[in-house]
């Protein structure tokens, strides 16, 4: 089956991937997804702290602030394995995105507090950076910062201990952390397709101590850009895992399921469809590896393109493979009891996060050749 073919001279990557398999034995992904849905979308704190214990949260935090000092290769392999195992925790937002923001923040007490808490699992820091109807503004009053505005698409808001908030201040864009129980902060949640919940957070003169600022002005935008880059890569890897595993389950099911005296996977029309699904998954894996290579080659422009391509390819592959996987599971596939539907729902969520394929492709050609530039 399609695999991420990354160089792994000392076997670290295989170990990492195997550790996820072991973890999934204790915390089966599909079961956890159904239970989370039953709780109205709230994360299971036990699972997250076990993930922290395994060293998976904040993997990208630099060693200097207590991180594992591991890089994007490791995160990619981890995310792919989590996708395969359907461990549908908010790894993209609360680990990859958050760690990139915190890791790139100005050194200081707040950064250290967050980094230490994230790796230990005591702090769940969730980025809130997509503006809603009311744009986020920050103004300084009496040494505090008053936040007002609205942020959308915030993952795991109920479990968060801190939000990493991007706001516009008189001095430009700032990044700061806000305690989840800060007064003037209201969370309103809606059900996510994969059983999680997505919140809109309203800030209304929410007061934050000034020492909570993590980064200021121009650095902020660059930090955000990098966080998006890393998260898109991680999502692409996770989607690749979802796609490969959905395909595997489908091959197993159709090889097992007998109709008209033969396994349905022995019918040529089904075989060719499975082959097409496999090619898509294979290409997704290759695109992810290409993105990892490009990021390591330190050519920013090339890396941006490669990540856009990987997220677009993996998202499209996962969504389309999972759709066909559900269909090939026949009536079983249409039931909630069968895990394959959960893969589809997970794929939809991750695919729609940080840009659907069409949007990413347009961004790619604009960035590469300027086509479409200046359109609204």
């Amino acid at each position: 089956m399609p695999k991420l073919m990354l160089d792994d001279p000392d076997g670290t990557l295989v170990m990492l991937s195997d550790s996820v398999t072991g973890f999934a034995g204790r915390f089966p992904g599909a079961k956890a997804m159904r239970e989370r849905r039953g709780r109205g979308g709230t994360m299971d704190p036990l699972i997250w702290s076990a993930m922290a214990e395994a060293g998976w949260i904040g993997l990208l935090l630099p060693q200097e602030c207590g991180g594992a000092g591991l890089g994007l290769r490791e995160q990619t392999v981890l995310s792919e394995a989590l996708g395969r195992a359907l461990i549908a925790e908010p790894t993209g937002a609360a680990s990859v995105f958050a760690a990139t923001l915190v890791g790139g923040a100005s050194p200081g007490a707040e950064r250290s507090r967050l980094a230490a808490g994230m790796t230990s699992g005591e702090i769940i820091a969730v980025p809130a950076w997509t503006s809603g109807a009311k744009p986020m503004t920050a103004r300084s009053v009496n040494g505090s910062i008053l936040l007002s505005g609205e942020m959308r698409f915030v993952d795991a808001a109920r479990a968060a201990t801190d939000f990493l908030v991007v706001a516009r201040s008189a001095d430009g864009v700032i990044l700061l952390s806000v305690a989840a129980d800060a007064p003037g902060l209201a969370i309103s949640e809606r059900a996510g397709v994969d059983g999680g919940a997505l919140a809109t957070i309203s800030f209304s003169d929410c007061a934050v101590p000034a020492d909570r600022v993590l980064s200021r002005a121009n650095r902020c935008e660059d930090l955000l850009r990098r966080a998006i880059l890393h998260t898109r890569l991680a999502l692409a890897a996770e989607l690749t895992g979802v796609a490969s595993k959905a395909l595997e389950l489908t091959i197993a099911y159709t090889s097992d399921r007998v109709q008209f005296g033969k396994p349905i996977a022995s019918f040529q029309a089904i075989q060719h469809r499975l082959v097409d699904m496999w090619i898509e998954a294979d290409f997704a894996a290759a695109a992810v590896v290409n993105a990892v290579d490009a990021l390591q080659a330190k050519d920013d422009d090339a890396a941006e393109l490669a990540v856009l391509a990987a997220k677009a390819r993996a998202g499209e592959a996962a969504f389309s493979i999972c759709r066909r996987a559900v269909h090939l599971h026949g009536a079983m596939g249409y039931t909630d009891e069968c895990d394959i539907g959960l893969y589809l729902k997970r794929a939809i969520n991750l695919n729609a996060m940080l840009g659907q394929p069409e949007q990413l492709r347009l961004e790619f050609v604009e960035r590469e050749s300027g086509y479409g530039r200046g359109r609204t």
Binding site: G195, T335, A352
Partner: protein, 385 residues
């Protein structure tokens, strides 16, 4: 007896029917989100139709039906859909009624047909089994004759709305070692309140329970509940579907979904994006042309003809179009495609995810699209081997 509607001109019938339905179908039942409401949820509409004598469009008039021709029946179904009336649990009306009218004894007809019209009996259909999906003839639920009672053992699955039915029309194997697998199958009418019956609802991808598993553990069914001849139920079971097959390919679902897509796209300003417009135009034309193709088959029925196997083309096209439209809804939704619940679009809510998930079903049920393609390959294109 009821009037002979077939004597009434088409447009007059359409108008009379539409007016009455529009006045009598309760507003809160129109355009329901649920594709398959339970009996209780739509009982008032069911009884209203029954009282008017319009519950059973295709039954002969002497049994309390409307006795509509295929052409008139098309109008009935079209107006029903146009007015957003809910689907009613219709296995009694659509399957058991016609079956008994064709194969039932006089006693069976006298007993069961009125109970269907009154809503006293709510029927479901026990065909599929865990290992007999598209391959129906391989079913294993058995019935052994013990004096004048069949003893039924086994399991059915994908039994639509069994959890709100009290009778099941069930295919059972009465001969284990029949040489031709289609032989040795029998049709029974089985009271779901009998001892030994257990019904387990199955939740679907949308979190609803359209269908169930039904288990039979030494369930005793009187011999008089046999329909047709013993061992020869295959013919009975296969014969039930007549011109109704055309409705499997009716454009209803994609039509509804495209309208929702249009509303969503308008609210999101997507029509300003020519790339979306280009994709929308393709879907719109697919729907339009599906209408033309549907009309071609409807013409055959109106002219008193019979439908051939080629009508499967409609089923394939309509179900796959439905899927493509709902997939486009998720694209238009952008990051909002991450939500399970409905999306606001001006003054309406668009159930994009609900429709997307619902669109997975029709391509599977009623004979998967792969089976339909096999049928077309053999019966229409007459391809070898």
């Amino acid at each position: 007896m009821a009037p002979d509607w077939n004597e009434v001109p088409d447009e007059e019938f359409r108008s009379v029917f539409r007016t009455w339905v529009d006045q009598n179908c309760p507003a809160h039942l129109r355009y329901m989100r649920k594709q398959r409401p339970l009996f209780n949820e739509v009982a008032e509409w069911y009884h209203a139709l029954a009282a008017k004598g319009w519950l059973a469009p295709t039954w002969p008039r002497q049994y309390g039906g409307m006795g509509l021709s295929a052409a008139k029946h098309m109008i009935y179904v079209e107006e029903w859909g146009r007015l957003g009336c809910p689907r009613i649990p219709d296995h009694g009306i659509g399957l058991v009624g016609p079956l008994l009218i064709q194969y039932g004894t006089e006693e069976q007809k006298a007993h069961y047909l009125p109970c269907i019209l009154s809503g006293e009996h709510v029927w479901c259909q026990g065909y599929s089994e865990p290992n007999a999906g598209s391959d129906l003839a391989s079913l294993r639920t058995s019935a052994e004759l013990d004096g004048d009672v069949f003893v039924v053992n086994g399991q059915k699955i994908w039994t639509t709305l069994a959890h709100c039915a009290n009778w099941i029309f069930v295919l059972v194997r009465t001969e284990r070692d029949a040489k031709v697998r289609q032989k040795g199958i029998t049709v029974l009418l089985l009271d779901l309140t009998s001892p030994g019956v257990r019904v387990r609802p199955i939740e679907n991808l949308r979190g609803e329970t359209d269908f169930c598993e039904v288990f039979f553990d030494n369930v005793r069914v009187p011999l008089k509940n046999l329909v047709g001849k013993i061992h020869e139920g295959w013919t009975v079971a296969k014969s039930v579907l007549g011109h109704e097959r055309i409705f499997l390919g009716a454009p209803t679902r994609p039509e509804y979904a495209l309208e929702r897509l249009r509303r969503l796209a308008e609210a999101r300003g997507a029509f300003e994006d020519p790339a979306f417009l280009s994709r929308f135009a393709r879907l719109r034309l697919d729907l339009y042309d599906l209408g033309s193709a549907f009309e071609r088959y409807a013409k055959v029925l109106r002219a008193g003809g019979e439908l051939g196997a080629d009508v499967s083309a409609l089923k394939i096209f309509t179900t796959e179009l439905y899927q493509r439209i709902t997939e486009e809804m998720l694209t238009v939704a952008g990051e909002e495609a991450r939500f399970a619940d409905d999306l606001g679009a001006g003054d309406v809510d668009i159930d994009a995810m609900n429709l997307f998930l619902d669109s997975r079903a029709p391509a599977i049920f009623g004979g998967s699209n792969e089976i339909q393609r096999n049928i077309l390959a053999k019966a229409v294109l007459q391809l070898p081997g």
